[in-house]
Symmetry: C2
Subunit: 300 residues, 2 copies
């Protein structure tokens, strides 16, 4: 009976996948993947490979090094972009003697959502919002801390810096997300003081509103995520093309912040980073065709 139910469920979900697939710029929205008997290359690399594990540990050690050094400096300004500022002409919120904090995205930044990723994969679907909602509520114990995160968070807390989470998980699922973070060893978080969720501010899946709320009480010296929306919302401006978005990260006024207050961890599996056709990804100037083609025997 259980098996029959499962099959019906999978069929229903497959039908759901025919819904419009405009990818929303939301952390939790996974790109659609074709049904497969094995994980995608991106999932194999991210969740399975020794290489990814090493990259994560390297990056987390860099984050902890930075936070320790910065905390010792008693900085005057944090790294949160001031309201109505842009990466091209940035201003930053002043510390004003507030206690220091580091702000982290949750999904694929602090934790790997192995339980839901495997469930989606085995069902042959990329993402389903109802299942994701269920995951936010019930996933505790089935997500794991990203390699290197726990050691780094210990160092960051020992440096006197408060760890705050700003995630696009839903405010109504706060209890589940608190339980998930705790079970993964990330720590105890409390909605509204150290945990900020989608719905806490009026800007939806934008995170700037919540960054302003956090900045009322803290000087934020580090922003860490797997998507640029974890740093500042203007990077996710919908009018920006694939190349524009990359160019914006190179704006002279902020280019020195990457690895120096603003940190990104790799996530080749989902998010606004996963887009573009061949022309977007491969510039005209690098077009190449095999010269060997001319050496092939002509077709009969």
């Amino acid at each position: 009976m259980k098996q029959i139910m499962s099959v019906a469920f999978v069929a229903l979900l497959a039908a759901c996948q025919t819904a419009p697939v405009q990818t929303p710029v939301t952390e939790a929205h996974v790109v659609a993947a074709a049904a497969s008997t094995e994980p995608s290359g991106g999932q194999q690399w991210l969740f399975g490979s020794a290489e990814s594990s090493v990259v994560m540990r390297q990056t987390w050690a860099t984050i902890a090094d930075y936070v320790e050094a910065k905390a010792a400096e008693a900085p005057t300004y944090g790294v949160v972009l001031a309201p109505d500022n842009s990466p091209v002409q940035p201003g930053f919120l002043a510390c004003e003697g507030k206690p220091l904090a580091a702000v982290f995205d949750a999904d694929e930044t602090l934790i790997w959502n192995l339980g839901s990723m495997a469930a989606f994969g085995r069902m042959g679907i990329g993402f389903d919002p109802a299942i994701w909602d269920d995951w936010e509520k019930t996933g505790a114990g089935k997500a794991v801390a990203i390699p290197g995160a726990l050691d780094a968070l210990t160092r960051i807390r020992e440096a006197g810096v408060t760890v705050i989470v700003n995630t696009n998980r839903a405010a109504e699922n706060a209890t589940g997300t608190e339980a998930t973070l705790k079970a993964a060893g990330i720590g105890e978080f409390s909605h509204g003081s150290t945990l900020f969720l989608r719905g806490d501010a009026p800007d939806g899946s934008g995170k700037d509103g919540r960054r302003m709320m956090i900045s009322e009480n803290y000087c934020v010296i580090a922003l860490v995520g797997d998507q640029l929306g974890d740093i500042a919302d203007p990077f996710n401006e919908k009018t920006l093309g694939v190349l524009d978005r990359k160019v914006l990260t190179e704006a002279p006024a902020i280019s020195g912040l990457w690895g120096n207050g603003w940190f990104v961890l790799p996530n080749p599996v989902y998010g606004p980073s996963i887009r573009g056709d061949f022309d977007d990804i491969y510039p005209e100037a690098t077009h190449w065709a095999p010269s060997a083609a001319s050496e092939l025997p002509a077709a009969n």
Copy 2:
């Protein structure tokens, strides 16, 4: 006429793809991808996203920071594993007053192979050895330096450290690879002194033999690549499963070297890092199924 030739060529290549797909542990061997009208998610992230560009710049800055600091220390030992040593019980080659070097893989470490990646993608194939051989010979100008690499290499050279390339491109294509590195701005390299290729030592696509050749003249203080074979061959031991390989990187005697002499850059597109089925990638302890299944209306 040109179009007809192209179609015949694509068909021929597609037929080639029915050959055995045992993925060799070789840098240049790209995992097979299904024919597609858009790049894979891994390619979109790696080559197209602002997030990847930022991750690369962060990591390259970390590498340059490390090399500058290490060079100033006049170290006694390098980071090349001594012959017949393992990551579990490692010994390292002594510097013995030799000049300092940093050793880099080429493909998807110093350069992104945009020309060949786009060509394979547009043909709907993952990899073809004859086309790749052509690319090694003729790709100069169509590969680009990875974001952050050029600034880091300048800092590394200014610290008095020689930049050496150890790649699995073929020795017989040395001229093409030298031209490709030069055209991407990586620098002038000379086969046998600052450029080491597959065929230079008897161990095939293993790189330990070439690391020993380099160590005859240099104290290697940094090893950098996108695959663990760029660090030490025992990580690519064929008997190691997906999880074993990850565990080996956590061996206490070497775990502190990641980000501290041994560096890995993300490449979710190809290589020995891209493998594993659902059971390999998602541990039993994280298995989860949506509770919502039980709330679905029963099938009629």
